[in-house]
Amino acid sequence: MTASQGKKTLKVVLVGQPNVGKSCLLNALVGPCVTISNYPGTTVETTQAKREIGGTSFIFVDSPGTYSLSDRSEDERATKHALLSNDMDVAVIVLDACSLERGLYFALQVIESGVKTVIAMNFIEDAIEKGITIEYDRLGRLLGVPVVPFNPFTKRGLDNLIDEIRNASRLQSATIDVLYDDHIESVISMLIEEGLDISLPTRFVALRILEEDKDFLHLVNKTTMKRITDKISKDCLRITEDIARMRYGTASFLATQGTKIIHRETRKKEVIDSLRIDRWLLHRFGGPAFTLLFFSALFYTLLVVGGAIQCLLMTVSEDLIALIPVDGGFLTQMLIDGLTGVTAGVAMALPYVFLFYIILGLTEDIGLLPRFVVNVQRTLRFFHIPERGFISLMLGLGCTVPAVTSTRIIRERDQRVRLIFLYAFVPCSSRLGIILGVVAFYGGDRLVLPLFATLGIAALFWLLIMRILSKDKLDPILLELPTYRRPMISNIAHKSWLRMREFVVVVIPLLILGGVMYSLIDQLGGTAVLIGPFAFVTEGLLGLPAETIIPILFGFVQKDLTGAMLVSVLGGDVAAVMTPLQMFTFGVVTSIGIPCMIVLPAMSREIGWKNTFVIFVTTGLFSLVVASTAWRIALLFGFT
């Protein structure tokens, strides 16, 4: 481990099991910078935040929750790498005081790794309510590391925690030897004698090897491995299981030694309430019905409330733009076009993005998302989609980029690729903006249902193909359901702002740039060059005005430009130029496929450029096929 002496900056990683409050602690230490939710798997990548406290500058690293160091997915691997990287000075293990044994199981693994450690104990008030008093000093003595109680909301204990982190960085790392049985100890000794060439404690490395950790297996050569496996098979050991069992035994022992049970353990009131609510929300028939109802209500709210806000914003912005005197000058025209782009874009997207994030925040905080997962798991598994992917799909209703990253909770790469394919059919809020703010706004609300139905049928077709093609086995279901919590308005506001910030920082400048660029290209006669060659697609395949290629192409740069450009290209009153059927076809073609360019690098980072390319091309072509077919079928039935 690095020596921190003489170093001014302390790098501190926050680790712990899922949903114990690591992100809460980070926000309490440095101010709101990461999203907090009530479901395991909110954080899928490490986040850093700096802060100067009492003359020392700290870099805090929030990490995805992991049940143990035996990582099973990409996000858990990120935690392990952050923890064991050489540049980390101190690890803060966040534990839930109400689930001490399982938390200590993880803590023992971390302490075994020789990292300098401080334990931060969360939910202490809940534990006291349950009749459990934790003797922090005694537990700390037994473990050889300081144990500090804290409350991220009242900020109690944070100063003490900072002091202990500072102290820990100066001291030698603690060592606790979990005593394994003689067989295991003798195999550990065999491995240690091999002289494992790594900067981590050899006993820890030996244990990781015996626990079949792929990151460490390369450290032993084949001959040694053969000797070890021979010894293990001779002693009939199920060594990985025995290690886990004995470590849990030690955790259990420490938990009993470090706590005082004041009165007989009773279940937390929240747990009892949660069970009562779940009787209905996880009912075999009531549960799926509730889930369906929730999503219908979500889209309906977006349509009605979002539509009303959009109407208001549009009227105000049109009135404002009308105040600019039209003098026919080049610059004035660019200013008007730029403003039209940005105001139309904001009015069409903002109400839906904003409303969706508020509702998503509420759902997350209450703890509904894992319940939805339970209710839809059978259907998802029928299509060979891992059930945990549902949360990622729901996040996709916000923005596809973080949703793609959130698939890291899925272990198998093929399953991730299949899940990411589905984002071609999950309308992100910008696409919801097109469906609700453009198609419904100009073509009528009655178009919304057929449009969603078309997307659904297209997705179903795709799911069936994936089901036929996929041969792999899904992991069995083992899902933690957090207790319901009362949503905190401040948290939802912070979280929505963190998510909306992207919109303000990235989208609004792009809308201005797009508007100005369009104006420039148009005035130089460039739009005709674009419109002509693509007429066979727009007019021929889709029955749309040829100019719509501009919003379709600009939309690929940034999806929110689609609506704005449509208004720019066709003039203010879109409804006068396009028939409802054309609005519908336009909606279909812009709602299926990879939404926009910024998704491509994110996708390529997660599943490689080859898969990204395949998804991009196939879903792009598929969107044309679906839109064209839907248009022709509608024509057959006499719609215009």
Partner: protein
């Protein structure tokens, strides 16, 4: 650190008490040879005398009534552990394991081990037919990482588990304050004894 410092003396004291009963000897020299940590011997004997558990005369050591009681607990503990591990390894090995574990294991665990040994054969895989609170007697998963995941979530033999309700393809269980959804593939690997 802390745990290691206390351990040597505690081990020595308990070994002395057990040796007096098991080898039926009062010779200080013989007992010293039996010890796992002979360097702590003198200090351990001194403490046992102070605690009123043994009496020393010349070259022999005898248990007081309180000492007999304490030694009885340790011997029972040793045998319970030995008995438990004898299912998996031979007698000699089981004795060696018990010899190590007897010092670190607490009474509740020994009690659980004894109970688990007795109850292991009585547990049945979770099937959704029995409801209420039961004791996990066995977790049998071939995939070691999945096993580790289950243990780290608290699904461990000796823990209490409550079956809550059926869902499509599985059931909801409660461990302490943790509510989990598991499918039948996992549930069928958790053997539970319902009272």
């Amino acid at each position: 650190m802390g745990i290691n410092r206390h351990r040597a003396l505690k081990v020595a004291k308990e070994d002395i008490l057990r040796a007096i009963v098991e080898f039926q000897t009062d010779s200080i020299e013989e007992i010293r040879q039996e010890l796992e940590t002979p360097e702590s011997f003198t200090r351990a004997i001194d403490q046992l005398v102070t605690e009123g558990l043994v009496r020393i005369s010349e070259r022999s050591v005898r248990l007081t009534p309180a000492g007999e009681e304490a030694a009885g607990v340790i011997v029972t503990r040793h045998r319970a552990i030995e008995d438990y591990f004898r299912q998996e390894v031979d007698c000699e090995e089981a004795h060696r394991i018990a010899h190590k574990l007897e010092h670190v294991i607490i009474e509740e665990v020994v009690y659980s081990l004894k109970r688990i040994r007795e109850l292991e054969s009585k547990g049945r895989p979770l099937s959704g037919d029995e409801w209420g609170e039961g004791l996990i007697t066995r977790v049998d998963i071939a995939d070691s990482r999945l096993f580790d995941r289950m243990i780290s979530m608290g699904i461990c033999p000796g823990q209490w588990i409550r079956t809550i309700k059926r869902i499509h393809g599985g059931l909801i269980i409660l461990l302490g304050n943790t509510q989990l959804a598991v499918d039948w593939e996992i549930a069928s690997q958790i053997e539970v004894m319902f009272p």
